[in-house]
């Protein structure tokens, strides 16, 4: 009885945090839906993308690579690299998760996005399964419903606006990058190195889009690891972070 009441309370707390993330995800997912439509994906593809991936930047990245004619393996490697940071987040969350049941862990892992992780890591002590269920279900619903909305709204937007929506993806990358640079100004060196290397590979070599990306990103991250001092922040990340929405 007590356990049931506790679970329900925890679920509601999680759901409340999840609604804040929902509000943040929804417009970003609209942009994703629009881009899917503009790059010629089917509605079912866009929907399944958000249902099965539930990832921010890496979904935008995957669609972009697909549109540029990359093969599936290149997309998978690129996405994997972009998502490597989850190793750190999941390692941290797994130590604080109350349950050790394998199936529960497998499900909680699916929804461990940057924002879900940020909220979960501000909780005191152990994090319950009920809380994680609440927060993940609502965040996921926001991401999926935004994608669907964006794809459908795309058909009623005038062509001039549709064309300028092509900038959405890059605007998002730029905004995310600025958020990172505000935390650590020297990150600009890493980003610039990555951008310059990638431009060089794409313009002057025969490397495919996917390979150029993977090589330039890895090289720039390596250079950054070597030249930046060890004191830089290690775990916070802010992909698609809407700080104002979940600090209530």
């Amino acid at each position: 009885m007590q356990q049931g009441y506790d679970n329900r309370r925890q679920f509601i707390e999680g759901a409340k945090a999840g609604v804040s993330i929902f509000i943040g995800y929804f417009p970003a997912a609209i942009a994703f839906g629009l881009i899917c439509r503009n790059t010629g994906l089917l509605f079912a593809d866009a929907f399944l993308f958000s249902v099965t991936n539930f990832a921010g930047a890496s979904q935008f990245f995957a669609v972009n690579l697909m549109a540029s004619g990359a093969i599936a393996a290149e997309v998978a490697v690129g996405v994997f690299l972009v998502n490597l940071r989850y190793l750190l987040m999941s390692a941290s969350l797994s130590q604080r998760l109350e349950t050790q049941h394998p199936l529960t862990k497998a499900l909680v892992a699916f929804g461990n996005t940057d924002e879900v992780f940020s909220v979960a890591s501000t909780r005191e002590g152990k994090v319950s399964t009920a809380f994680m269920t609440g927060i993940e279900v609502f965040s996921w619903a926001g991401w999926v419903s935004g994608t669907v909305t964006g794809f459908l709204v795309g058909s009623i937007l005038p062509p001039g606006i549709q064309q300028s929506v092509g900038i959405t993806l890059y605007a998002m990358f730029a905004a995310l990058l600025v958020e990172e640079i505000r935390k650590e100004v020297r990150y600009i060196i890493i980003a610039a190195t990555a951008g310059l290397l990638n431009s060089f590979f794409v313009i002057y070599t025969e490397l495919s889009t996917g390979s150029s990306f993977v090589i330039s990103m890895t090289a720039a991250a390596f250079i950054g690891t070597v030249i930046l001092p060890d004191s830089i922040r290690e775990l916070e990340t802010s992909e698609l972070t809407m700080e104002e929405t979940y600090h209530d």
């Binding site: 060890d230 290690e234 809407m242």
Partner: protein, 101 residues
Amino acid sequence: MISKLPFILLSALATYIPRAVPFFMSWLSRLPAPIKKFLAVMPVAALGSLLFPSVLLEFSHAPAAGIIGVIAAAVVAWFRGGLILSILASIVVTYFVLMAY
């Protein structure tokens, strides 16, 4: 149009694996510091490569639109923060630059 389902499922797998593996291999939380640092700076490097040169090639008939649009997003993000406002500002600015071409 054909479905891109294989791409989507592979991409899902490439997202799920790094999220799930640490829940089952606890030694991953004790990675050496330099590797943690490498993983932590990875997103920044990714964003740099995602932006360039694609943003210049996206509007190949009007490269200025891409540059100005990205600058608009960066300026709003720097002074106001928040993703939505940055993206909206960028779309509006890009729209006008494209109209001017």
